[in-house]
């Protein structure tokens, strides 16, 4: 019992500590003490906790300090948690204004893109829970089928049994698909002031293009200390590891 009490207190204090760090950081932000606010927010992250608001506030702090890359980095981390957060998207645009590069996003088309958009509606854990829900519906249909006396009820239940089962299996596949997609999705932000994207992972290789801090790229592969990345407009190339910071 005593152990439980201690653990509970520890958890609460940890939680409470993180909470108070958040409030303290907010206060510092209000006083325009942005570097100190950043330190406080960072304490929360170091303690193993995070939230959309922590990243959003961090993004704001860095924007006020005119540090493009960390600002964009934190806004993007916030969007990883809540992709449709309006405040984050609004302020991200301000930070992106300071970027040297133009954001030229080539819209992805095709079936796989449509599919991906559909599966992304829910987190893969939620799809898993949906699968479970339908699994229970399967049980209920079965009960209806097995125990009902009325022919109509029996028929409908029998049909629904298979429908629900099919949906639940589909939900599992979607969940797995979405999880794989999430794991393959490796965005990163350019932190170097200017970064050469080369045709091969060698310093002497030709430059395909030069990107600047704040740009978003997607990591495809890694060789030695080079990353193969894909840019927003679809171009691919190799960059030095030290020039970018992964969002995951």
């Amino acid at each position: 019992m005593k152990l439980f009490k201690i653990l509970f207190l520890l958890f609460v204090s940890l939680f409470g500590y993180s909470q108070s760090s958040f409030d303290k950081a907010n206060e510092l932000y209000k006083q325009d003490k942005y570097e100190e606010a950043i330190q406080e927010y960072q304490k929360i992250l170091d303690s193993g906790m995070h939230s959309v608001e922590v990243y959003y506030n961090l993004g704001n702090c860095y924007y006020k300090l005119n540090q493009i890359a960390p600002s964009i980095y934190n806004y993007e981390k916030a969007l990883l948690l809540e992709p449709n957060n309006k405040m984050v998207k609004n302020n991200l645009k301000f930070a992106q204004n300071m970027m040297i590069d133009e954001i030229k996003e080539v819209p992805k088309v095709g079936f796989s893109n449509w599919l991906g958009q559909f599966t992304a509606v829910y987190h893969y854990d939620k799809w898993a829970k949906i699968a479970i829900g339908f699994s229970f519906l399967v049980l209920i249909s079965f009960v209806g089928y097995y125990f009902s006396r009325k022919m109509l009820v029996k028929r409908i239940s029998f049909a629904m049994l298979f429908v629900f089962f099919g949906i639940s299996v589909l939900a599992i596949f979607i969940s797995i698909f979405e999880k794989n997609k999430t794991e393959d999705y490796q965005p990163a932000i350019v932190f170097a002031e200017s970064l050469a994207v080369k045709a091969e992972p060698k310093t002497i290789a030709n430059n395909e293009v030069i990107i600047h801090e704040g740009a978003k790229v997607f990591i495809l592969d890694k060789v030695d200390n080079w990353y193969e990345v894909e840019l927003l407009d679809g171009k691919t190339g190799w960059v030095q590891e030290s020039g970018i910071k992964s969002l995951k």
């Binding site: 939680f15 993180s18 909470q19 958040f22 907010n26 932000y29 929360i44 992250l45 193993g48 906790m49 995070h50 939230s51 959309v52 608001e53 922590v54 959003y56 506030n57 704001n60 924007y63 005119n66 493009i68 405040m87 998207k89 609004n90 302020n91 645009k93 301000f94 992106q96 204004n97 300071m98 970027m99 040297i100 590069d101 133009e102 954001i103 893969y124 854990d125 799809w127 898993a128 829970k129 699968a131 479970i132 699994s135 229970f136 399967v138 049980l139 079965f142 009960v143 097995y146 639940s168 599992i172 969940s175 797995i176 999880k179 002031e193 600047h212």
Partner: protein, 587 residues
């Protein structure tokens, strides 16, 4: 009247009994190329008109025309003559012909005979009547003074072209024969104002130098470069030993060609070591300034960014660095301005680029620091000047997110919208979650939850089946009902459990009742063997028969020997079981 005068003149001249002659006479027939010859066209009258001279091809007229009129009386006879003389200098060697001269005397045209002059190679001592005191060839030199013969690439050098004239000589004019083009150089000629002369000692003798041309050159290529010579044809005035009528020294004029010869310049390339990446070729000493005309703008205003380089060096020969601005700022091509003047020390002044920048969206923009590198000639090293970062703040205006979402309808509808969206404030509330979250998808609880209902289905099926089995288990049912039945028969016995006698009496009765009901045989009067036989016949199990009989025995025993020990409970249960068994087995 005129005609009368004419006739009179004619007669007079005829009376003269003089032959009109018009002749050409050379002072010499053979001369060296560096000597002069005198030709006189003489007529033995003083009245002549329309003198026409030959072309003197192959000669240059260096003196004349000298007119001489003489009259003399010889032997009572009066004669007069008039001559036109020229001093000629041959321009080439060979046999040169001087053509006829013509003149009209008394209405008649007279021509001289052509004469020939043989011109040989230049002679040591021109047997001119005058002897030059200073050889014209030696009295004049053209020198190119190069300020530096091994400059760096783009380091300015000057060439001063000076004509050195020995003291005592002079020159009348000069014309260029060769003009260098200064390939591989950026060249600028500096006008020579007036006459720049200086007394100098040249080759140990006193000379006067005259500035002919001043050129500033910036070498554009490294390596060994050759500057073509400058050549002049100078009309030199040299003193001769002759004196004129007044006693003044007579000067001869000779054309002398002078040349500087080619100049070799060894241009050093700029060192590779230490060359900054952004070096664009600037050599000299410079200042680099980047200034915006404003840093805070409202919608509709523009910013002018001036990039200036001032100083001395090859200002016209390098390009200015371009600013790197965020793509959200619209920047237009710059207006370039050059205010450069060239002097003997090179180019100096200012070159600038002015960029017009128009921010489109509200917010902050950073123009990164710009750097300008040049090669400093005073220290022979590269120097870089970096400007400061410039922050542009657009105070109001649309945000880029709005701009992407507006359509024409929106613009119409939202005309009375107050302000565009701003940079939002921080969030004050939060609910923290742990960063490392285990996936639910592959967790054990997921599997459990998912499979639970599915597993429940067969479980249900099994349960139902078991129920049905039970329902359809007639035998089992029978047993149960028989158990009930037995219990019914034995209810009486049960009631009498306290009374041994009564119990066993009713027990016995129950047993026989059972058989009666079951076999339709009255067995109360039968012997045990008989009962056993019947039961065996009816497929009862030996054990149950044994039990049945033992119960009957017990009942009898109690009836006939009440004091014997017996167990009511045991027997009751035994009876129940036996009846059940029998019920089950008996067909």
């Amino acid at each position: 009247m005129k005609k009368l005068a004419f006739i009179l003149l004619f007669l007079t001249s005829q009376l003269m009994l003089a032959q009109v002659e018009f002749t050409a006479k050379l002072s010499r027939n053979k001369i060296g190329q560096n000597e002069n010859v005198r030709i006189d066209f003489t007529m033995n009258t003083t009245d002549g008109d329309n003198l026409e001279l030959p072309s003197f091809e192959g000669f240059r007229v260096v003196g004349g025309p000298y007119q001489q009129i003489s009259q003399s009386i010889v032997n009572g006879r009066r004669s007069s003559s008039k001559s036109f003389g020229f001093t000629l200098q041959p321009t080439k060697q060979g046999v040169l012909t001087i053509g006829s001269a013509s003149i009209t005397i008394n209405g008649q045209l007279y021509q001289t005979d052509p004469v020939q002059v043989t011109v040989t190679a230049p002679v040591q001592r021109p047997n001119d009547t005058s002897v030059p005191l200073i050889e014209p060839n030696e009295s004049i030199h053209l020198v190119a003074q190069v300020s530096k013969s091994n400059p760096y690439l783009n380091e300015p050098i000057t060439i001063l072209y000076k004509l050195y004239v020995k003291e005592g000589s002079g020159f009348r004019n000069y014309a260029p024969t060769e003009t260098p083009e200064y390939n591989d150089f950026w060249a600028h000629t500096i006008e020579v104002q007036g006459l720049e002369t200086k007394e100098e000692i040249f080759k140990g003798e006193r000379y006067t130098s005259v500035m002919v041309k001043k050129v500033v050159l910036y070498p554009q290529k490294a390596g060994s470069l050759t500057i073509a010579p400058l050549g002049l044809d100078v009309a030199v005035e040299y003193p001769t030993n002759k004196r004129d009528f007044f006693g003044r020294r007579v000067y001869g004029v000779a054309n002398v060609k002078v040349s500087t010869g080619s100049q070799k310049i060894s241009v050093k390339p700029l060192p590779e070591k230490g060359k900054p990446e952004d070096f664009s070729g600037a050599v000299g000493t410079f200042d680099f300034i980047v200034t915006p005309n404003r840093t805070a703008v409202r919608q509709g205003e523009t910013i002018e960014l001036s990039i200036d380089v001032t100083g001395k060096g090859n200002l016209e020969l390098f390009s200015l660095p371009k600013p790197i601005v965020p793509s959200a700022l619209e920047m237009y091509d710059p207006i370039s301005k050059k205010q450069v003047s060239v002097s003997l020390s090179g180019m100096s002044g200012k070159v600038s680029d002015k960029y017009t920048i128009i921010p489109q969206y509200q917010g902050k923009y950073i123009i990164k620091p710009m750097s300008f590198s040049y090669f400093d000639l005073t220290s022979n090293s590269y120097k870089t000047i970096t400007s400061k970062e410039i922050m542009i703040d657009m105070i109001d205006g649309p945000t880029s997110s709005e701009a992407q979402n507006t359509t024409d309808d929106d613009i119409v509808l939202n005309n009375n919208k107050e302000s565009h969206s701003q940079f939002k404030f921080i969030e004050l509330k939060t609910s923290l979650q742990p960063i490392k979250k285990k996936d639910f998808l592959s967790s054990t609880s997921f599997y459990l939850w998912y499979l639970f209902p599915l597993v429940l289905i067969p479980v249900l099926i099994l349960a139902m089946r078991k129920k049905r089995e039970r329902d359809e288990d007639v035998v089992g049912n029978k047993i149960r009902s028989t158990n009930k039945l037995a219990k019914k028969y034995l209810s009486e016995a049960k009631k009498n459990q306290s009374d041994k006698q009564k119990f066993y009496a009713s027990l016995e009765k129950a047993l026989h009742n059972f058989l009666k009901a079951k076999l339709n045989i009255e067995t109360s009067e039968m012997t045990k063997d008989k009962i056993s036989e019947i039961l065996t016949e009816r497929k009862a199990s030996p054990e149950s028969i044994k039990n049945f009989l033992s119960l009957l025995e017990s009942a009898e025993l109690v009836r006939y020997a009440p004091s014997l020990a017996s167990s009511v409970d045991q027997d009751y249960q035994k009876a129940v079981d036996t009846i059940t068994e029998l019920e089950k087995n008996i067909k």
